[in-house]
């Protein structure tokens, strides 16, 4: 997959499809063992991240690629106040770019970012420990920690999960705004198709560690080509109480240790053919240019 400059790209899929692993892999945070990147490359601004030394990679983490983790409570250090954690991030920026930032300027930077994130009473937030903040505030502190380092790519892992709808919408707006102002590209990881469709320019739909469909958000929403994507959208409750049953895909996501042969979705697919059981499909292009991993799109 690729992420262009200034683009917001969504990685969507259900739990266990490999979304977070992908994000952690890009930023080099996968523990090895057990994880092992056996082939492929991750090119960021012309450099293959997999070939860098630890210290070279550290230079890129933060000011190059920032990441906001799924659980803000676990991602923040419980024994430091917000203020200390944000200053730590500025320290990273200072070291990587040899900047000379006074303590006063540091404080101003922090307040400005918290203001940008529309946090009420930033001074008060700075004095608090993570557990004293609400989920929405904590999530924005995590985002602040990442953006204070001015990353060129921001990996956002389920940043709106578990938040109330308008806190969620507000964070989406803040991210969009940030993307437009700073041009930071974003990789937006989520299981929530509705959220992804609100903010992303392009989507990658993942299943069993594979990208099943890739394309512009509008195309994927309106004309999903892969049966899995179709099922995923159809499973979202839309009507009122008298609406017909939801056309849910049968079964559950496969166990990655016991993957079926051929297409990984074939046991749950309504259009399964013999071919699907025999061989994993290559990438086919749909009429509107989406890239789809499905034999149905094979040109006869």
């Amino acid at each position: 997959m690729r992420i262009n400059k200034g683009e917001i790209v969504g990685i969507v899929g259900e739990s266990g499809s490999g979304k977070t692993t992908l994000g952690l892999g890009i930023i080099g945070l996968l523990d090895s063992p057990p994880a092992d990147i056996i082939n492929g490359s991750i090119t960021f601004e012309g450099k293959d991240l997999l070939k860098l030394t630890y210290s070279e990679l550290s230079q890129i983490r933060g000011p190059g690629i920032g990441m906001v983790f799924q659980e803000s409570l676990a991602a923040l250090n419980p024994v430091y106040r917000t203020d200390t954690q944000l200053r730590e991030s500025i320290e990273v920026l200072r070291r990587s770019q040899d900047l000379n930032i006074s303590s006063k300027a540091e404080k101003e930077m922090i307040i400005e970012i918290l203001n940008d994130l529309r946090l009420d009473r930033p001074e008060w937030v700075l004095k608090k420990y993570p557990h004293e903040l609400s989920g929405g505030m904590r999530q924005r502190v995590s985002i602040a920690m990442a953006i204070v380092e001015r990353p060129k790519l921001l990996i956002l892992d389920e940043v709106t999960t578990g938040l109330d709808v308008y806190v969620q919408n507000r964070i989406l707006n803040i991210l969009k705004d940030l993307n437009q102002r700073t041009g930071a590209a974003m990789m937006f990881i989520t299981h929530d198709l509705l959220v992804a469709s609100q903010i992303c320019d392009r989507l990658y739909v993942m299943y069993a560690g594979r990208v099943m469909e890739e394309g512009s958000t509008d195309y994927i929403i309106n004309t999903p080509a892969h049966p899995y994507t179709q099922k995923l959208f159809a499973a979202i409750p839309q009507g009122f109480v008298d609406a017909p049953p939801l056309p849910a895909p049968k079964g559950e996501a496969p166990d990655l240790r016991k993957l079926p042969p051929g297409c990984k979705f074939h046991p749950r697919c309504p259009f399964v053919m013999q071919k699907c059981k025999d061989a994993e499909p290559p990438v086919f292009e749909s009429d509107c240019g989406d890239k789809v991993l499905c034999w149905l799109l094979e040109k006869k």
Partner: protein
Amino acid sequence: MSNIIEVSNLTVSFIVRGGNLLLFERGSGLMDVVNDVSFNVREGETFGLAGETGSGKSVIAWALVGLMTPRSGSVRVLGKEIDFRKKADVTYLRRNIGIVFQDPVGSLNPRLRVKEIIQEGLVAAKTFDRNEYGKRIDEVVDLVGLRKSSLEAYPRELSGGEKQRVSLARAIVVPRKVVILDEPTSSLDVSVQAQVLNTLKELKSKLDLSYFFITHDINVMKYMSDSLGILYYGKLLEVGRTYDVVTNPEHPFTIRLMSNVPGLKRTKIEDQGERLTEQGSSATGCVYSKICPRAFEKCSNSPPMINLGSDHHAACFLYDEAN
């Protein structure tokens, strides 16, 4: 159509030490997490309760199965007024109302097999003969769509969807008329959620159940409930038939909530650009008045539930005839 559960003026309080008591200065260190809430669950229907985190949705559920004792108000279940100080009444509640909790991991005993977890309900109810346990468990497992082989499994060996089905089996193993569903699908993936919602609807018509359904997801609420209530900081702000409340919300909070519901069509995200205050509730008067765009002087008083016709009520002075 009769009411299976009637809740009137229910107030549940927590004792708070320290913390921000300024906001909730009622009594000495008592915080009303559910404040003067009234609603009915009608027979054969689903009553949905929607609200954000911390609004008190689960607390109402806990009170309805006697896990919390209300400070005031009345609860009638199948026509019987419940006295929460009487153990027999609390047992009556639990015998008649099943519950599925939000967290599928925390609500299933990790040291018991699925069969034993479901059986516990039967043992507690004392209405089944020991010889009938196996047959009844088999029936229920079939109803909720679990595989027979899951009976010997421990909860950790099951997927999230299967765990919620076990919870559901436990809730209906003793025949009941009402089941409380507290965010039953919020931890599930969308495709599994769809399967569980389908099962819930099927069961409801098959067993003539009524549901008290709690969720923060308005799309799920729309799809599941006949009537709904909107809870905010322990106060019920609006109640009505789901279709009316969703298509024609009247309370300013509900209006904002509904305009924020994500849909599949790409729309401009509703955002007034206001700051998100940490404490969005007011200690006196209408709980929403502090951030309500339409608040006026009167809102420093507590608004009554105002009848807007056809079962639709909103607790908002905007609809007060006296204006």
